[in-house]
Symmetry: C2
Subunit: 367 residues, 2 copies
């Protein structure tokens, strides 16, 4: 087996983790290979606060009686060099005199300088950087570099870019299979949905996770609700107010000193500037609550505001075989700014898929 193949093995292991179990940590897989090419130990990071991939792989190799001072460690991400909830992995590697470490991607966290520390301690470090390994930790990388959650915006639009008719009705632009896709993949991957009180009150949607043949799952909701309309008792029959055991409803407002008796409702107070919430503050509040990936399911105004704030990383668009020939129908992005063609926002097409007669497009936003 080649170095690439050992690293691919580590990558397959890394991907086995449940992304929500490891938050806010990255996916990591590690393989210890002995001098004769045999895999002596392997592992992946499974749960935040528990052992790192390198630790599991090294301990397994020790258990198998491997001579670590002749082994190579393959690891999908640069080993950590700082003390978090567990001691630095670099210490363990150095302690066991592992002579060579092959790394598949670099840690963007400025606190991590594992590669340098290993080299300073005589370890041969090879960087075999692989785009797939960087992509796997997209959420982690955005959390680290941008200091905010990864934001994914989802819309179901007609061929001509409308998300609802002029009365606000959007049921249903997309087909049933597309809507299932939203639950099974987009909501399942998210730590919370971001939306507005207006959308919640109008659509009366449950906004949880419903996948065929599986029990319904809770999903946290972040709701822009400046006037705290959702605290009014008359709205508590709305579907989002199901009994929550593992999730919360976060009401975002600029009002201070407000409390609520609803056990699963939490108020996040954020200042408003020029009529818009200070998103930098929101980013911090969400990361503090371990909300690392957010799915935006909202109307045209919030969509536009998040785009304007450069707080959208990916757009999932379900393009449906309908036309709403009505200038007053709701646009995917509701914005009264003037944007000349040369300033159009650029996207990168990542993926396209046919779902019945809908087309699902996944675009990266080039900010």
């Amino acid at each position: 087996m080649t170095a690439e193949q050992y690293l691919q093995r580590a990558f397959l292991l890394a991907r086995q983790a449940n992304p929500k179990a490891i938050r806010p940590n990255p996916f990591v897989g590690a393989v210890v290979v002995s001098e004769n090419g045999e895999i002596a130990g392997e592992g992946f990071h499974q749960k935040a606060g528990e052992a790192h991939a390198e630790v599991i792989a090294i301990h397994q190799a020790i258990g198998h009686g491997a001579k670590l001072d002749t082994c190579t460690l393959y690891v999908t991400l640069e080993p950590c060099s700082h003390t978090g909830k567990t001691p630095p992995c670099t210490d363990l590697i150095i302690k066991h005199r592992i002579p060579r470490v092959v790394i598949g991607s670099m840690d963007p966290n400025p606190l991590v300088s594992g590669a340098r520390i290993l080299q300073e301690n005589g370890v041969i470090v090879e960087k075999l950087l692989m785009p797939d390994m960087v992509a796997l930790n997209d959420t982690f990388n955005i959390n680290q570099i941008q200091k905010r959650p990864k934001y994914v915006l989802k819309s179901a639009i007609t061929l001509n870019g409308k998300i609802a008719d002029s009365s606000g009705k959007s049921q249903w632009i997309s087909n049933e299979e597309s809507r299932e896709h939203v639950h099974q993949y987009l909501r399942t991957a998210a730590d919370a949905i971001l939306t507005t009180a207006k959308t919640v009150l109008r659509d009366n949607a449950t906004m949880n996770i419903r996948v065929k043949d599986q029990p319904e799952q809770e999903l946290s909701l972040i709701i822009f609700d400046r006037n705290l309309a959702l605290l009014e008792k008359k709205h508590h029959h709305h579907s989002v107010f199901y009994t929550r055991n593992q999730s919360k409803i976060y009401l975002v407002t600029d009002k201070t000193g407000i409390t609520t008796e609803l056990p699963y409702v939490e108020i996040i107070t954020i200042p408003v500037q020029h009529g818009l919430f200070d998103l930098e503050m929101l980013h911090k509040e969400l990361l503090k609550r371990n909300i690392c990936q957010v799915l935006i399911e909202a109307g045209g105004s919030m969509n536009a505001a998040m785009m304007d704030a450069k707080a959208v990383d990916e757009i999932y668009t379900f393009l449906c075989p309908r036309i709403l020939m009505d200038n007053a129908a709701i646009n995917q992005f509701n914005s009264s700014q003037i944007q000349p063609m040369d300033d159009a926002i650029r996207l990168q097409l990542l993926e396209s898929m046919t779902i019945g007669e809908d087309i699902l497009l996944r675009h990266k936003v080039i900010h």
Copy 2:
């Protein structure tokens, strides 16, 4: 070989015709098969006014000494039974006592009742109707049934359905390869482009056919130009006024008695009702001029007007990785009517294709 296979052979032959050479006729292929299963003759309709497929195939079979009274004729379209530029094919079949005819699709022309006439004359007629053969003659079928050209609408849009910025600038939403696709396939298939004087004057586009490594080809233009702005000398530097030998510029107006000295410009006078051209009249005028398939390349208002008149059969959309976040940017369909979700226009997805980072969607409009 089975009956389906002989019919498929006839279908492959039929498709070899140049669609513009056979206008307004359909694609037809025919195969004469002798008792022992050998192909005794075959042919396809190649040029309007010249021999039909059945005639070519039967004459070839005669030349090969086939005993026609023991042969089967496979033909992709019901044989004609009326005298047009050539005598009825049914006469020829009956005259040569061909005992069995297998038909792949029916002729929608009410003047054609070939199958019935053959049966009345003792010919066994089998209908092995194949959707591909109906689809091949889509333009012909629309011409016959709807009494109008087939209209194909083409747009390049941003992800959010905009065809130009608020100043009207559309260069370039789509990528170069997509634009080449328009020339190579959409314009090449059309007998004329339908547009407006506004678009011609603003874009200064040549609107001919340019395909890599091939000489430029002319293409007729139908221009909605109520005030005949394009007759003004000051506009004659515009790119559409190249010297035309095989194509025309048709200016559509409601003005009568206007003449022009430009040899390749023709005025089509059509009444205007409620500010809109009488499209029923236009349909007739175009068919009269053997314009059987029209490509609409225009702005949002003409797109909407043609849709409203149920005069769009297919929509080709180049969906491009851009967002124009500006409510004043030009919509693919500019319409001030109110259209509730339940009345949204339904489309049928026929095809989708990735062209670089653009997605080309082909939809049929369900009227």
